[in-house]
């Protein structure tokens, strides 16, 4: 090997080693932090003489995460869920102190409702519901023979969990915190740079449909990721919390701008496809000033401020050149389509300006109260899926409860508790059967390790320091496994199973027979949860749910056409993005399902936005009574067509839109409505779109060429 080779290869090897070490270091930092929190919580709980220090210790494992913000967010929702669950448990025990059947029924129903509620929320909010469900079981089941003890049981549970949360929150926040704020900042910057760069680079005009779809998919993902990050970061950083609504505004404006941008490019593509090059080229010419305006270093934050005056300048230039460029077109159809495109472009520039403005003030040191408008980020929820989750959790509980009563199994309560916990915890994961299976294997390994630890190690040691030395090595293996992507659920099961069955307390009981019986009961409970997932398959990821989500997506057009107007634009955008990203996450990239979905999402987006703008403009001024019925009819038939697409309603919608356009032509002063309707019409007649399947076999050749 020559000297030159050596000098180039040595730094890269060193870097590879350094990278590997850094990765390892973050894993071990996680292990050290979690163990610290684990034993500190246990020690305090023992000093306070709480009945089950093991619960506080288990809590630190459940909320353990590499990111401090995630730990705090999960802790917050765990605290809420625990409080709610304990309250309900007291209520249920008070209502049925003597009757075990209605008691189990009420408890099962509550757990089911919580499991259902969990599927309606993303992030850790769903976790609060799960917690509410199983905390009720944890508080109520042990006191089933001793109802007056429920208040003490509830208090013990609450203090143990809160203590665990407090300790792990403090440890994670103070010892080498790993901040998600930086990730959030980077994500926001990347989103801005990517989108604005994309807009700048595509001023050339024509873009393949494929590229557009991919870019759109990326933008949707970026928006949803940012929203998810934001919801966790607000817990770790009070500055981020103060700026939270501004960040939402930034995200909403991003969604609006990306939709308009995409509509614009579809319009240009359609004109190109119909060989109407003059109209398309004139539009591209009109669009050029934006590319020039954005031709500056693109960076979110104060640096973005330089773009603002340039965008205003570009807007002025475009406004000036619209009429001159329109005059160069002699075909009235060309001019009509050009004007439609120009109004779309004007909307896009306004939205881009608002977006850049929001990006520029992302990092101002001081946030003035109430300076930003409140923005809601709506989600698209499926209540039937939630009903299914409710049904599964309730049935699992009832079956286990009946089995417990029928066999008089002394440790039936253990099985029931575990089944509740896991049926709830994994109901929202994409593939719960596999995850539960892995966790179960890990759990059994963890319990085996706990057996060795308890009866061969702990029996020989004395004092808390030696207890730490005895337990830590066994637990550390599980925690390291938690951090490896392949064995994450296995490791989680390991750590939880070990912490749960050890149940460390002040006067530790060493009873192998009870240990083994309890372990069998817990494994049976886990198995029951896994079987429940197989018998009543989760809705998430199934073709059935995907069809429902697609229908929901299409009905967004009806929402755009008929829902009350105030705030509708944000509502439409955010529900759309949520639904879209949900289905995208659950389909294979490039599969037929995923392609159909993307095609529909684009059609829905475009038409929906145009309808909202149309209704907005309609509400500005009183319309002639001879015109209004036609517009309402167009809105109505479009809504029905998207709700239930078939060739007949397609024809109805197409004709209604054509009639509305014609009747606008008969009135004066209403031409401002025309552009939106043209946009809807072009989307309807686009032969490349998903709507092509509903078009009549013999297309009206002249019509399509004219309008597209």
């Amino acid at each position: 090997m020559s000297a030159a080779d050596l000098s180039t290869s040595a730094p890269s090897t060193r870097r590879a080693i350094a990278d590997a070490l850094r990765e390892e270091a973050s894993v071990w930092l996680f292990v050290v932090k979690t163990l610290t929190a684990f034993f500190l919580a246990g020690w305090i709980a023992m000093r306070f003489a709480l009945p089950a220090p093991g619960t506080a210790m288990l809590t630190t494992i459940i909320v353990a995460n590499r990111q401090s913000g995630m730990v705090l967010a999960k802790s917050f929702y765990r605290a809420i869920g625990t409080m709610a669950g304990a309250t309900v448990a007291i209520g249920i025990v008070a209502a049925f102190p003597q009757e075990r059947d209605p008691f189990l029924l009420a408890l099962s129903l509550w757990i089911g409702v919580c499991a259902g509620g969990a599927t309606l929320y993303r992030n850790f909010k769903s976790y609060a519901f799960v917690l509410g469900g199983y905390t009720a079981a944890i508080v109520a089941i042990p006191v089933i023979d001793n109802p007056p003890g429920v208040f003490d049981s509830a208090w013990a549970r609450i203090s143990e969990v809160l203590l665990g949360l407090l300790v792990s929150g403090l440890v994670n926040d103070i010892i080498f915190p790993s901040r998600m704020r930086d990730v959030l900042r980077r994500a926001a910057r990347e989103q801005f740079a990517q989108f604005v760069g994309f807009v700048r680079d595509s001023t050339g005009g024509v873009m393949a449909r494929d590229t557009m779809e991919k870019a759109h998919l990326r933008f949707v993902r970026a928006a949803v990721t940012l929203e998810d990050l934001r919801s966790s970061v607000i817990f770790e950083d009070s500055e981020a919390r103060a700026r939270s609504s501004h960040l939402r505004l930034f995200n909403t404006r991003f969604m609006a701008a990306s939709t308009s941008f995409q509509s614009l490019h579809h319009l240009i593509n359609r004109l190109k496809a119909a060989h109407r090059d003059r109209a398309a080229d004139t539009l591209i010419q009109l669009y050029a000033p934006i590319g020039d305006a954005l031709d500056a270093p693109i960076e979110a934050g104060a640096a973005a401020r330089v773009l603002l005056p340039r965008l205003v300048q570009a807007r002025e230039t475009m406004r000036g050149s619209t009429t001159t460029l329109a005059a160069t077109l002699d075909d009235p159809l060309d001019r009509r389509d050009f004007e439609t495109g120009a109004s779309l472009l004007a909307r896009f520039v306004d939205e881009l300006h608002a977006y850049v403005d929001a990006a520029a003030s992302l990092q101002t040191p001081r946030v003035v109260m109430g300076s930003t408008e409140r923005v809601r980020f709506d989600r698209g929820n499926d209540f039937v899926g939630a009903g299914l989750a409710t049904f599964r959790a309730t049935v699992t509980m009832l079956v286990l409860g009946a089995f417990w009563i029928g066999t008089a199994w002394p440790l039936g309560s253990s099985a029931m508790l575990l089944a509740t916990v896991f049926a709830g915890l994994f109901a929202t994961t994409p593939n719960p059967t596999r995850v539960t299976w892995h966790v179960m294997l890990g759990y059994i390994t963890g319990m085996t390790m706990a057996f060795i630890c308890e009866f061969f190690v702990l029996t020989r040691v004395d004092g808390y320091g030696l207890l730490i030395a005895g337990v830590a090595p066994f637990l550390a293996v599980g925690l390291v496994l938690m951090m490896t992507p392949r064995f994450a659920s296995y490791g989680l099961g390991w750590a939880m199973g070990m912490a749960y069955i050890l149940a460390l307390k002040n006067t530790q009981v060493f009873d192998p027979a009870h240990f083994i019986n309890d372990a069998i009961a817990q494994a049976a409970g886990l198995g029951a949860a896994a079987v429940a997932f197989i018998v009543i398959p989760p809705a998430v990821g199934s073709a059935w749910l995907r069809r429902r989500q697609l229908a929901r997506l299409r009905s967004q057009v009806a929402l755009a056409a008929e829902a009350p107007l105030p705030g509708l634009r944000h509502r439409f955008e955010s529900i759309n993005h949520d639904l879209f990203s949900q289905v995208v996450a659950q389909t294979e990239p490039g599969s037929a399902d995923s392609r159909a979905l993307i095609a529909w999402a684009l059609a829905v987006h475009e038409t929906g936005r145009a309808l909202i703008e149309l209704r907005h403009d309609m509400s500005l001024r009183a319309l002639p009574t001879t015109l209004r019925p036609y517009l309402d009819d167009a809105l109505h038939t479009l809504a029905r067509f998207y709700e239930k697409p078939d060739p007949a309603s397609y024809l109805l919608a197409r004709d209604a839109v054509a009639t509305a356009i014609a009747s606008i032509g008969e009135h004066d002063d209403v031409h401002y409505l025309l552009n939106h309707l043209h946009l809807v019409r072009m989307a309807l007649l686009d032969g490349e779109s998903v709507l092509a399947a509903y078009m009549p076999d013999v297309p009206l050749a002249r019509e399509i060429v004219n309008a597209s």
């Binding site: 926040d173 103070i174 950083d237 009070s238 981020a240 103060a242 040191p365 001081r366």
Partner: protein, 65 residues
């Protein structure tokens, strides 16, 4: 300082009540500090926050009751 406080006939440790009160106060202070950017010159905000909490809790226990 009373060892226990009766809240609706349920005896609650006095220290716990103070603890919850100081957490609420800390939450308020934290929000204000975040809104006006007071954490910018601080090296380790969580540590600083913990220190503020210890001060608040200690002051409550010493002076309030």
């Amino acid at each position: 300082m009373p060892r226990e406080i009766a809240l609706g006939d349920a005896l609650v440790p006095g220290l716990l009540v103070l603890f919850v009160l100081s957490i609420l106060l800390l939450w308020l202070l934290d929000g204000l500090a975040g809104r006006f950017g007071f954490y910018r010159p601080v090296w380790h905000p969580p540590l600083f926050r913990l220190a503020v909490f210890v001060c608040v809790f200690g002051a409550f226990a010493l002076f309030l009751l």
